[in-house]
């Protein structure tokens, strides 16, 4: 298969690479760019472990053809902290016991940052609903919801 050149921004840096039409974004990110924070969990869009931000919106890299991100901007978990300064959601996850095995954590955190950007005053029910596509088998979610709640600008009850 003929390779196609694509140019896109990954975590603020412009990258120019050749990909096959059937290359999945998850495999390009993990195997070619060595950004292994995005995880393979199911490959069919059911678990959210491979979530990345595409132009700021969470999408599933396991169901995204790499060719389709040409000209777009991607943020992975590795690009969230500003230098040594963790993103508030990353900090909140650490402070609230929201991390156990950590395999779902990158996808969880990226989805949560998108939620807070879209809805800075999200209620608990809104958080629960928005996060429902990111599966976690360890934590039972409650401390994850608690962590995200702690980042909400103005606490509102449902």
């Amino acid at each position: 298969m003929k390779k196609i050149e694509i140019e896109f921004i990954v975590n603020g840096k412009k990258r120019r690479i050749f990909v096959k039409p059937n290359d999945l974004l998850i495999n390009i990110i993990r195997n070619d760019l060595y950004l292994t924070g995005s995880k393979y969990g199911c490959g069919i869009g059911e678990c959210g472990a491979c979530t990345v931000l595409l132009d700021g919106e969470p999408v599933l890299s396991c169901l995204t053809l790499a060719v389709t991100v040409n000209g777009k901007e991607i943020t992975t978990i590795e690009g969230l902290a500003k230098g040594d300064e963790l993103h508030p959601v990353q900090k909140a996850f650490l402070e609230n016991g929201a991390v156990q095995c950590g395999f779902c954590t990158p996808g969880m955190i990226l989805t949560a940052t998108a939620l807070l950007k879209e809805n800075p005053n999200a209620t608990e029910n809104e958080i629960r609903d928005y996060m429902r596509g990111n599966l976690c088998r360890c934590t039972g979610y409650v401390q994850i919801v608690k962590a995200i709640k702690s980042c909400v600008a103005e606490q509102k009850s449902d």
């Binding site: 059937n22 292994t36 991390v99 156990q100 395999f103 596509g133 919801v145």
Partner: protein, 797 residues
């Protein structure tokens, strides 16, 4: 013993897990070795079929490295070597030599430059199948005389064992006089319960990376709960001296028991790497993973006898388990089920009969509880039935009969027993009842309306490790190397695994507490392996804190002894006159003559002095076997809301009481309890891996589109899940600590079922309790009530 004030135990430090929130943490599937090949596995499409010939020449022509049954050693093994060899059943090779025994069983594998190439080559492998049998899916079918034999014989240790009626193993235990016990009973209740197969659904699929070394050895990264057992097994299978097998300790993306055994892909990856003479990476697809391991199901026929005052007199427990196509140690499973059963209540007279049966399904293994949630569902449901029959409050009946302090606890089946020295059962039942507003509970007959709320209680426990005064059938010890660096910081080298529940965090805190070194200066890193660590059996049986940290504490105390000896020389004093303390201002451990804190020397100064004067390293290596198996107790008060129009069950609120002795990581202790609660909700209301009776395949086709686990929305809200700890201290545990992990799941299903009964007056005996089952049962009940009203009406007329 009094509770003590600790500097680090029970405190929270947010620096742990920083790799996990930044994406820097490496898991087996993240390891990349220059020049590696990617491997894929060919899985059987048939549930029970003879393999006549495998021809992979076409695949090789495409440049792939291939292995089939003839390329793997004839070595027969059991992938779980936690039990002693003479109690270990061996029925498998790396790839099956004669026939496949379940759909999804690996039969061949390919490695190539890319995963795409490997997969393309895989499709070229030709298999000539011989006889095919109809799959044995149901236990009752599998034990029939005319059922096809899944095995003719297997090995138990070195002894050959013939398999009859597909019965893999049996275990019968008698305590007291069962007939006498039932004769004394004034009330007898008996029911049959079924718990289903569920899938671990750990987020990381089973993975392995293997590098063949120049000296004939191998280096392996793999999903494992115990790297030393993987080393021993790989060495034995491939006939490599054990010093040349190096298994790396690496973070695990969840496991829940599915990597106690060496994962089936691990030796496949090794075989490919040895043949290719190149590094090979093998990451299971989710669909291969779901066809690789499953929780043990259980069928229980339970009969219990009691006096009218609620005193128990006897229990007869008959259990059956269908284990799938391989026996990943159903024998200890049957023993453990007996132990969990025997240790819940003072039955006085026990008859236990357990049978494990091969079927053509995915092999079953431990999943958080090793039979505990399964048998707990039967016992705790039947205790509620008994309570109602006796007209005794369920809490009172439990308080009257529970096995507690001073009683004997079976920590790992009948051969691992110890006396209970700490017990929070009473406190948990009483305090939990207050928090859950138990006194406001009304009987089902009082509930009206479309949405009916009910509250249920159930209690459980798990062992903390598998130690006892006498070593039983289970190997149990842990170890560590602890060394003090030249600046006073500390390195801990241990093979002890962390599932994410905080075992490593606990290790660091225990070492910090003993050596008074600030938590952040205690390093417990992933760059260790079987070569740099001493043996640790496995992080299973809720033994991480109690046994693992117990061993770490033992080693740390030896280091402390060395340290005080060195310091004594410097202070020109006796070690017993010196005090080790943490100076938070300096961020260092300090040593000073007792009562004269201003005359301190820092640990860094002492270590540096020892270094430049060539006294030698301040380090110690050892192992420790815990000689007790204290139960960590749990009590669940669960509130459910049953929608009588749709059969849906919601869980708006829960009160969970835990007894782990001293709690080392409070946030993760709570996290483990809540996490177990979500898995328990999946187990009781939602999950089941169902099989198609004809094809023998999973109804979900291996796709999690049709294997749902709870999400954020199905859990109670943050403020509605109340987790509290009992006030206990385990005298035999490190700083008074016991475990929590598996205990946390044991009584979720039972409490949910009891709550549903309280809401709608219908008892469910089979899990999961789906809306379909609830609605059907509600309709039936409505019909029955109509019928009985009509009969009463007839009589009146």
């Amino acid at each position: 013993m009094e509770k003590q004030q600790y500097e680090f135990i029970g405190k929270q430090f947010d620096i742990k897990n920083i790799g996990k929130v930044t994406g820097k943490e490496l898991y087996s599937s993240d390891i990349n070795i220059p020049g590696q090949l990617y491997a894929v596995v060919l899985c059987s499409p048939y549930p029970h079929a003879e393999i006549k010939k495998i021809d992979y020449t076409e695949a090789e022509k495409m440049g792939a490295i291939c292995i089939g049954p003839d390329d793997v050693p004839d070595y027969l093994y059991n992938e779980r070597i936690v039990s002693i060899p003479e109690k270990t059943y061996r029925d498998r090779t790396v790839l099956p030599k004669d026939k496949v025994r379940h759909i999804g069983e690996a039969i061949a594998a390919c490695a190539a430059e890319t995963e795409e190439e490997a997969f393309a080559a895989l499709k070229k492998i030709k298999i000539e199948w011989g006889k095919k049998w109809k799959p044995l899916i149901d236990l009752d079918e599998a034990i029939k005389d005319d059922a096809p034999s899944i095995y003719d014989c297997v090995y138990l240790g070195e002894e050959k064992v013939d398999i009859k009626n597909n019965i893999a193993c049996e275990r019968n235990i008698d305590v007291g006089d069962i007939d006498k016990g039932f004769k004394e009973a004034e009330v007898v209740v008996e029911r049959t319960f079924n718990t289903q197969r569920i899938y671990h659904m750990q987020l990381e699929t089973k993975s392995a990376v293997c590098v063949p070394e120049a000296d004939g050895g191998i280096t392996v990264w793999t999903t494992s709960q115990g790297i030393h057992n993987v080393r021993i097994l790989l060495g034995n299978i491939f006939n490599i001296p054990l010093n040349k097998v190096n298994v790396k300790r690496i973070t695990l993306g969840g496991s829940f028991g599915s990597s106690i055994q060496m994962n089936s892909i691990t030796p496949i990856c090794v075989a490919l790497a040895l043949k290719a003479k190149r590094p090979v990476k093998l990451v299971s697809t989710r669909e291969d993973d779901i066809y690789d391991h499953s929780k043990y199901p259980l069928k229980t026929i339970l009969k219990i006898g009691a006096k009218k005052d609620g005193t128990l007199t006897a229990a007869h427990c008959r259990v059956w388990v269908e284990i799938g196509g391989h026996n990943i140690q159903a024998y200890p499973y049957l023993g453990c089920v007996a132990g969990w059963f025997a240790s819940l209540y003072k039955w006085k007279n026990i008859k236990y009969e357990g049978t494990a049966v091969y079927t053509n399904k995915v092999p079953t293994c431990a999943m958080q509880g090793y039979g505990n949630p399964q048998i707990n569902f039967a016992v705790e449901s039947l205790m509620d039935i008994l309570a109602e029959k006796l007209d005794i409050d369920p809490i009172e009946l439990r308080l009257k009969n529970y096995v507690g302090k001073g009683d004997e606890f079976w920590g790992q089946g009948p051969t691992v027993r110890s006396i209970i020295r700490s017990c929070g059962v009473e406190e948990m039942l009483i305090e939990g009842a207050k928090l859950a507003e138990w006194e406001k509970r009304t009987p089902p007959s009082k509930k009206k309306g479309e949405l009916r709320r009910g509250i249920g209680v159930a209690r459980g426990f798990h062992t903390s490790g598998t130690g006892g005064p006498n070593p039983g059938e289970v190997i149990d010890y842990s170890g560590a190397t602890i060394k003090i660096n030249e600046d006073g910081s500390v390195d801990v080298l241990t093979a002890l695994m962390d599932h994410g529940g905080g075992t490593w965090d606990a290790v660091a805190k225990v070492v910090a507490e003993v050596l008074k070194v600030p938590y952040e200066k205690v390093g417990i890193y992933n760059e260790v392996d079987t070569r740099t660590t001493v043996f640790d059996v496995n992080t299973h049986a809720t033994r991480g804190v109690y046994c693992g940290c117990g061993a770490v504490k033992f080693v740390a105390e030896k280091v402390k002894e060395m340290l005080l000896n060195y310091a004594a020389t410097l202070f020109k004093d006796l070690p017993e006159n010196l005090k080790l303390a943490c100076n938070k201002k300096l961020g260092q451990a300090v040593i000073y003559p007792r009562e004269i804190p201003e005359n301190y020397m820092t640990l860094g100064e002492i270590a540096e002095h020892a270094h430049i004067t060539s006294w030698g390293a301040i380090a110690y290596t050892s192992t420790l076997r815990q000689k007790n198996c204290p139960p960590c107790f749990i009590t669940h008060f669960v509130e459910v809301e049953v929608n009588t129009k749709t059969g849906e069950v919601k869980v708006p609120r829960a009160v969970i009481m835990g007894d782990s002795g001293t709690i080392i990581n409070p946030d993760l202790w709570e996290g483990q309890i809540i996490g177990a609660f979500s898995r328990g909700l999946g187990f009781s209301l939602l999950e089941e891996t169902k099989y198609d009776l004809n094809s023998g395949g999973l109804e979900c086709n291996g796709l999690i589109t049709d294997y749902k686990i709870p999400t954020t929305v199905e859990m109670p809200k943050v403020d509605n899940i109340i987790v509290r700890s009992a006030h206990t201290y385990e005298p035999t545990g490190p700083f008074g600590a016991k475990g929590i992990g598996e205990a946390a799941l044991s009584s979720v299903g039972s409490a949910v079922a009891n709550a549903i009964y309280n809401a709608i007056g219908i008892r469910f005996y089979d899990l999961p309790i789906t809306p379909e089952k609830v609605l059907k049962a509600l309709k039936r009940k409505e019909e029955e009530e109509k019928e009985s009203r009509r009969r009463v009406g007839d009589k009146v007329d």
